[in-house]
């Protein structure tokens, strides 16, 4: 597992403080979501270990109330934009943990985390004229 230890993170990784809710970026540092949930793998006779990080509105809603999660998931099915309720990135894909973000070795655009971003870009932004910042980009 390639992971850099960072100055502000001690040898112990405090899951709730240092991992849960942190910004997730892809290998090109594009912001792709947050650590909405963590999955632990329970092993016989051995201590549990982190299996993956989870992203998705349903995961977030589950943290508030299971009924809210069902409701959010109902809308997800009806709208048919986001294909899977929960997107899991295996812990082995984590490349780096800094005070600002967790970098994972995926391409954001191809993941379910970007389903909405992609859909809005292709179906809404594409139909709005003048979507370029008129040469103001340096």
């Amino acid at each position: 597992m390639a992971m850099k230890a960072l100055k502000d993170l001690t040898d112990d990784l405090e899951l709730a403080r240092d991992v849960l809710d942190k910004q997730v970026v892809d290998r090109d540092e594009i912001k792709m979501g947050r650590v909405d949930g963590l999955v632990l793998e329970l092993r016989d006779g051995k201590p549990p270990r982190i299996d993956s990080i989870e992203m998705g509105g349903v995961v977030l809603a589950e943290r508030i109330h299971p009924r809210l999660a069902r409701w959010v998931d109902g809308w997800r099915r009806r709208l048919k934009v986001r294909k899977t309720a929960v997107y899991r990135v295996p812990w082995s894909a984590v490349q780096e943990i800094t005070p600002y973000h967790i970098k994972v070795d995926v391409a954001a655009l191809e993941t379910p985390a970007f389903d909405w971003e992609r859909w809005l870009r292709d179906h809404v932004i594409a139909h709005i004229p003048a979507a370029a910042k008129g040469g103001a980009q340096e």
């Binding site: 809710d21 912001k31 947050r34 943290r63 932004i125 103001a136």
Partner: protein, 407 residues
Amino acid sequence: MNMKKAATLALGILTSVGGFFDVGNIATSTQAGAVYRLQLLWPLVFGTVLMIFLVEMSGRFAAATRQALPDAIRTHLGFTAWLFPFIILSLVHFLVLGAEIGGICFALHLITGLPVPFWALPVSVLLWLFLWRSTFGAIENSSSLLGLITLAFVVAAWKHHPPVGQILAGVVPTLPHHDPTRYWFMAVSLIGAAITPYVFYFYSSGAVEDEWDESYVGVNRAVSVIGMGFGSVIALAAIVVSAVVLAPRGIQVDDYHQAALVLTEAFPFWGFVLFAAAMGIACLGAAVEVSLSMAYTTAQTFGWNWGENLDPREDARFSLTYTGAILASALLILFGVDPLKLTLLTMAVNAAVLPFIAIPFLLLMNDRKLLGEHANGWLSNTVTVVTLALALVLAVVSIPLMIVGGS
């Protein structure tokens, strides 16, 4: 100080013109001056002190951690703790944006005579187009330059030779001679207009957009004092002008038409147009800020890609968030909500919800693991906690009284 740091003063001025002096100050200052003359200068001074501290803290946070507030709060306090403040903050954004759009529409109504709701759609399209096409730097610079027109209030106040003794007396809180309920409600609205809660959230995102690092801690202190001081002097001048021009004639500000008279004595020919221009520009600057602030907060809460320098194709959700916010708030004005009433209500709500929005922020500011030597000292903590508590007590007591007594 290098050029880039000197230029960051622009962020301070933008924040003060947009975030400090806006529709809320025009409404509350002119009304306070017209009814209580110079007696209600103190809530504004009180609010300004708190605002300087909050903005300084927010800039220091962004400079020391290179993170904007909503981003850091979700990371460190967690989604469930942040959800409630986030919902309140979104409501504040919605109301304030409606009030600012109402202000721009009213300024256009003053000049053209066309009804206020007529302007709701053209104004929101223009506002949206500006955000859609501009970079953060362009927005900063144009708003700071145009915002200088609001100095007309200061010039007018100066021309009237206001009684200095009474102005100084007004800085000290005193009990009202008449109408105590209205007095305290107005004091709360003035405080709410000085401390619009979205401002310090916006400011930290702006600092991240401008790529501040630890070396900006000193500049940030100057920016917050000068920037907020600049906005506050304009708002104080508006009270003075209103006290000198409107109060002796018994004109009370029941709608913005009466407020528009405040500059006509100092500038007989241009006063009306100048008022309209100052109001339109101050509200436009604020509307730009609030829309962006809504998008920053939402994008950071959910971890979406964000940045006003990115092309909308690269941050579709961010761009469509401000688009939706503008549309939703414009509907308030389109359906004929009175802009002045909306503003006064919004400012009182601002003061009341401030603790909910400021407390998570204060918690973070004291996190030494995160901020190290830049964490809050006793002075910042004492001043903010005491003033927040006072603002809350004032709001909790006066708002119900006003609702009961006002009906």
